[in-house]
Structures are given as structure tokens and as C-alpha cells.
Symmetry: C2
Subunit: 150 residues, 2 copies
Amino acid sequence: MPVSRDDWTELALTALRRAGYRAGGARRQVIELLGGEECALTALEIDRRLDSVGRASVYRALEQLEQLGLVQRLEVGGEAAGYERRDPGGEHHHHLVCERCGAVVPFADEDLERAIDAVSDASAFRVLSHEVVLRGSCGACAGAKPRQAA
Amino acid sequence: MPVSRDDWTELALTALRRAGYRAGGARRQVIELLGGEECALTALEIDRRLDSVGRASVYRALEQLEQLGLVQRLEVGGEAAGYERRDPGGEHHHHLVCERCGAVVPFADEDLERAIDAVSDASAFRVLSHEVVLRGSCGACAGAKPRQAA
DNA sequence: ATCTGTGCAAATAGTTTGCATCCTC
DNA sequence: GAGGATGCAAACTATTTGCACAGAT
């Protein structure tokens, strides 16, 4: 059973404390913001939403959280990287990205996870995380302009 | 049956000509370089290897090739994007990335592809491409330093 | 001759770093 | 009081754009 949003916030704060970090205000705000989001936010979006927090602190917090495995960094678009909370228990998702309008839609699939686990096990790597991105046109964009309709 | 390196080079040059592009030297050099590579190169690596080609031309060529579906852009590391040739026929691979040493190792897996196709078909998106990245430590790095060994 | 392709350099955008200060422990 | 945490601004890196010129058709 995955933890809930608020639980994740608690978890993250605790994990940081146990990792020897002090409780400053910037990091806490980043954590609380991420805890309330289902999907990824870019560092700049986070910075924009947190007036009293400096941009550098946002990046620093995200890096620390990523290293502790509490946040997953995603290379979704060609521009900024996305960051989203990661429930230690499992229950994670991947993304469908519309190349036309930029929409990012999360999805989850058991078979896909199994296939990835099998590849991970068979490889010489010690795989710690993975990321799947499906690109194309979302329903609206594909419908609006059937892509290369003669 | 996938096309071979040289075939891909030919194919790309033909596709560009048919798409109405003229045959300048910069683009040809980028294509020939990519045609000879199995795995991804960053735009800067390409620029570095092609003395007589301007950096901007490299980016422009890569963008055009990507749009024609001849090149796949990868968001592998946190830094530069990678570009590799894409055989229209199929036969494509994904990547294992070592977060310690930066090694990028390609792999292919049928079951994984099937799972992705199933998700694609079930989604509302018109999926045109996909990318899977497995992150962790490569054999050497994992062995050398058992990751968080007390 | 025309109009695209190219190289150079400047402009952008995202991310990182240096440093003085603030605040937690 | 000591040392980490933070904000600001400057530094960097990757990528894009403007523009004049070369080259392809």
C-alpha cells in the first residue's frame, strides 16, 4: 500500500532529519509543495510558486531529495527537467507526452513494470530506478489535425 | 530486417532530398557520422568531431532529422541530449545508464516492447515513439563500491 | 538568379556555484 | 557559538536565433 500525499511529506521530512539535514524553511516548502502534487513539476515552476524561496535552494532541495530516493527526476521535455515525489513502497507511474501541446499524462501498467524488472534482473547493472516516456499526440491534438493527413 | 549503417545513411539523404531539402555539406556530414554510430551522440560531441561544421548547423540538422523520424532524440543524462539514428523498420533499443560513471549501455527486449505497444494501443494518444531509461550502477561501479556499504 | 544552407557570434534558458548572512541545533 | 541552510547574483552549459555570405538548383 503506497503512502498518501501527507504521509509522503512526513516521510520526506523525517528522512531528511535522519540523514542529518537541518530543518530550514526552504526545503520544507519544496517538500510540502511536491507532496501535494500528483505529477511532475519543473524546478522553475516550483521556484515560481514559492516566492520566499530562492531558486538555488529549490535546486539544492531537489537534488538532496533525489539522492535520498524521495523524488524522481524526469527528463520529459527537451527543456526543463521534471521532479515528482516517489513513494518508497512502489506504486509509480510513467508518462505520455504530447509533442504538439506539451500535455503530460501519467499512466501505470503492471505488465510494463514486470518486463522492466525482468530486464533489470537480467542485466549486469544494479538498477535503481527507471523511466518510460511515450511520445506522440494526445487525443485532442491527434483529432484536431490527423497528423500528416495528406 | 533492419537497414544497415550505410543503408541508413542513404535512406536519410534520400528522405531529406524528397522532403525538399537541398544537399549542403553540413547536414551530410552529420548524417554520415550518425550512420556510423550504434548508439547516441550528443550535439556537442558531433560538433566537436566535425571541425568544418558549425554548432548551429549540427542542431539544425538534428532537429530536421528528428522530425523526419530518422533520428531519435534521447534524454539520457541530466546534461546534453543524445541523438541516434533510427531504423524505420523497427529494431530499436533502450538504455541502461550508470549514474556513477556515466556509462550508457544499449539493450533490447521483446517483452518490453510488447508491453509498451499494449499501453500505447490502450491509450488515447497516438504514440509515435518511446524511450526507456534504466538507471543505476553498472557492473564495475556496483562491484567497486557496493553502493552505500556502511 | 534565387533561395536554401551554413558559420559565426550573440542571445536565451536552465542549472550550478560563490559567498555573506541567517537560523537551527 | 558553530556549522549547516538560504538567498542573491554571477558563472556555466546547452541550445537557439539573427544575420551576412556561400552554395545548390
